[in-house]
């Protein structure tokens, strides 16, 4: 059985490109353009990994959703990749070493995300 990945991003073009790359690699894909829909999918489907944008309708939507997932006993073991367009060289960067406690996610990736790197990262998390 293939793994099911939930991709959350308010940009439908980003969703489309991620879907193509993930399906090409035989993952099942669910997409959501906001965290309300994402939450509905999470409650309905068995999700194995979440690829999550940070800034959606509100700047903090991605953080809020990540916190909700990780504080829920039922979902806390689902790995999350947080995708952000925030420049890693600025002080606004996110780093798993520094921000891991504050943001309990498994991986940060800076947009644009190389599709090959994404697949390598997902394979690492879904071992």
């Amino acid at each position: 059985m293939s793994f099911k990945i939930l991709v959350v991003d308010d940009d439908i073009d980003v969703l489309e490109s991620r879907k193509i790359v993930l399906e090409h690699n035989n993952y099942d894909v669910e997409t959501a353009t906001n965290i309300v829909v994402a939450e509905e999918i999470l409650n309905k489907e068995k999700i194995d990994l979440i690829l999550l944008d940070v800034m959606m309708e509100k700047d903090s939507d991605g953080f809020v959703f990540a916190q909700n997932v990780k504080s829920n006993e039922k979902f806390k073991d689902i790995p999350i990749i947080l995708a952000t367009a925030v420049n890693q060289r600025t002080k606004f960067r996110f780093d798993i070493e520094e921000d891991g406690d504050f943001l309990p996610v498994e991986k940060f990736m800076e947009k644009p995300i190389d599709p090959d790197d994404l697949i390598v990262t997902i394979r690492g998390l879904l071992k």
Partner: protein, 245 residues
């Protein structure tokens, strides 16, 4: 321009937000093209669709960059070419540019009176057109589906001004956000991020332009009911009227 080492925290924050808002759609363009480039899709129809999406996204970036260019141009007012302009002609032009977007969302535009006659102001054509484009586009973007936009104008002969009123039946602006609507990079809490490629420069640009034309702009809004914007500009008397004096 501000020297980098003299930038305030506000300036730095504004720059960081701008960089983020430009980087997000640019990243999406790269994502779309990468999918093709790295061989994830072979179907020609699908490739065409992805290239079309990338082109559209790149066009939203152009809109954002135009906003930044206009903003910097406004900072140097000597570059503005001033001429005598009929404000009603500018309104007409702006309306014709906005109409396809309104039609797309089933929004009707009602002119309370016909845009005929001559109400002349001294100003810069491109920037005054930008004022009404921004206001009308906001009235479309933040309206409800099948909503309405009402446009009206009135002349105050005593003050020698013209007031253009544009009302929408949209989401409205919460009271607590009213003081922010004209600030650079601010969008009301009700306004979705990045809708149609916006940097949040729109209304701050509008206010700056109106003030540069010695005019005023007022906003009244009720959440869930709509927003009314009134632009008031000083009129220039026609030659024959001036001769009569």
């Amino acid at each position: 321009m501000v020297e980098i080492n003299k930038m305030t925290n506000e300036d730095q924050k504004a720059l960081a937000i701008m960089a983020h808002d430009l980087k997000a759609p640019l990243s999406a363009v790269i994502d779309l093209l990468d999918v093709i480039n790295k061989g994830y899709v072979a179907d020609v129809v699908k490739i065409k669709d992805l290239v079309g999406r990338a082109t559209q996204k790149a066009e939203t970036l152009i809109v954002m960059l135009d906003d930044i260019l206009d903003y910097t141009l406004l900072a140097n007012r000597t570059l503005l070419k001033l001429e005598i302009l009929n404000i009603l002609e500018i309104l007409k032009e702006s309306f014709s540019m906005m109409q396809p977007y309104a039609d797309d969302r089933g929004i009707s535009v009602r002119f309370k009176r016909e845009l005929t006659g001559e109400l002349n102001v001294e100003g810069n054509y491109t920037f005054l057109l930008r004022v009404f484009n921004n206001i009308l586009m906001n009235a479309v973007k933040y309206n409800k589906e099948n909503g309405e936009i009402a446009v009206d104008f009135s002349e105050d002969t005593q003050k020698n001004t013209v007031a253009v009123t544009i009302s929408d039946t949209g989401i409205g602006i919460p009271d607590e956000d009213m003081d922010k609507v004209f600030r650079i990079f601010e969008r009301g809490r009700n306004a979705r991020r990045n809708i149609n490629g916006s940097l949040g420069l729109g209304l701050s640009l509008v206010k700056q332009i109106i003030e540069d034309h010695k005019g005023e702009i007022d906003v009244a809004s009720t959440v869930g009911v709509g927003t009314t914007i009134v632009v008031t500009l000083p009129l220039i008397r026609k030659k024959e009227e001036q001769n009569e004096l």
